[in-house]
């Protein structure tokens, strides 16, 4: 008797849910201008993000590139537990005088054809056994970008090619601990998780 009641109740529930869901399954169309608006934005960023692959004879490893190394000084945390040195951005090219040097000229030539810049992220924590970098540039994928120990004890580093613009990032220490860079601008999401912000400057025409 009780089983019959439960079976009947379950069938009624299923029918009720199906009635609602079938109405909600009605097709929905994106606005007719959706694709055009989107593709307008895509084309603006696309040339920088995905430049047409070079067909010249020059191998990729022989092309000149702009190297942006920004060692931000590490911050020793209280009790000497850990210190973090965050990313930085010292633009070699932009710091050169307009008069230019041989180096400057080399970098300027490179900047005309190469829009991705190498940014070095450094993290200091003598007690860390692993350090990973997550950010919008790797879709916040844990394990996608691991820092490697440098020669100095407790100093971890990795260089990442970044396109011009604003990027958010954070470190994951020992696989679980989320650490935002204390020296960088902070960004907080809706759930209160803090990450850090780095801005990679676009190379100006004048630099070329």
């Amino acid at each position: 008797m009780a089983e019959n009641f439960e079976a009947k109740q379950s069938a009624e529930d299923a029918a009720f849910v199906e009635r609602i869901a079938s109405a909600l399954r009605a097709a929905e169309r994106a606005h007719q201008s959706f694709e055009k608006r989107l593709m307008d934005r895509v084309r603006v960023e696309g040339a920088t993000l995905y430049p047409v692959r070079a067909t010249s004879q020059t191998s990729w490893w022989r092309r000149e590139r702009v190297l942006r190394i920004s060692p931000i000084a590490g911050l020793a945390l209280a009790a000497g537990i850990s210190a973090i040195i965050a990313v930085s951005s010292i633009s070699i090219g932009s710091r050169l005088s307009s008069g230019g040097t041989q180096s400057s000229a080399t970098i300027q030539r490179a900047s005309a054809t190469d829009t991705v810049q190498l940014v070095r992220f450094v993290f200091v924590d003598p007690r860390a056994s692993s350090v990973q970098l997550v950010g919008d540039f790797n879709e916040w994928t844990k394990g996608a970008t691991s820092l490697k120990l440098t020669g100095a004890p407790g100093v971890w580093a990795v260089s990442v090619p970044l396109s011009a613009g604003r990027h958010e990032y954070a470190f994951i220490v020992n696989g679980t601990r989320w650490v935002a860079d204390p020296l960088a601008v902070k960004s907080s999401d809706e759930f209160g998780t803090e990450s850090s912000v780095i801005r990679v400057a676009a190379l100006r025409k004048s630099e070329t």
Binding site: F16, E18, A21, L24, R25, R29, A30, F34, E45, G46
Partner: protein, 183 residues
């Protein structure tokens, strides 16, 4: 490029043929639109969120590890964007009516507003009264007709938690719409 696979389109974009991305947009925009509109209760908001989601996908295209399953990866981004947007909206304003108000407006014809969609305003309003996580789970399960395993992959939530959310959503909807549908 309409006959090209997702992986072929992605490879073309990564190689500098930016316009190939439009093939992916055309392929997925309507499917994503249905979820976003139902989730947010507004076509205007859904449009904003989808623009943002597709741009995120475009920027992170190199991070799509399985290009043949671009759709699932994109869906993950859309779900996350909707979640963030709904959360932000909830903070800013009490956008969605309370459950009690929802049923009141559900049976009061003529009180049309932005969420009056083709499928019937009363269902949309009842749906909008659900907590975001329950609404999301209900839509993925019963409207997008995903398996719990697929839902878990997309949302990052365990199967058991998702089952609970769907059950609670169904119970709440039943309470809100019983008067309309008489069971």
């Amino acid at each position: 490029m309409t006959g090209s696979s997702d992986a072929e389109l992605i490879a073309a974009v990564l190689g500098g043929d930016i316009d190939s991305f439009s093939g992916l947009v055309r392929r997925y925009q309507d499917t994503c639109a249905r979820f976003a509109v139902r989730m947010l209760g507004s076509r205007v908001d859904a449009d904003d969120v989808l623009q943002s989601a597709f741009m995120r996908a475009f920027r992170g295209l190199r991070g799509c590890k399985d290009p043949e399953h671009f759709g699932g990866w994109l869906y993950q981004i859309v779900v996350n964007e909707c979640r963030t947007y709904a959360s932000r909206q909830r903070k800013r304003e009490q956008r969605f009516p309370s459950a009690a108000t929802a049923i009141e407006t559900a049976v009061a014809p003529g009180s049309e507003e932005e969420v009056d969609l083709d499928v019937g305003g009363h269902i949309e309003r009842a749906l909008s009264a659900l907590p975001t996580d329950q609404r999301e789970a209900f839509l993925l399960k019963h409207v997008e007709e995903m398996t719990y395993e697929e839902m878990a992959e997309i949302t990052g939530v365990s199967v058991s938690a998702l089952k609970m959310r769907v059950k609670r959503a169904c119970d709440t909807l039943r309470g809100l719409l019983d008067g309309v549908y008489h069971g």
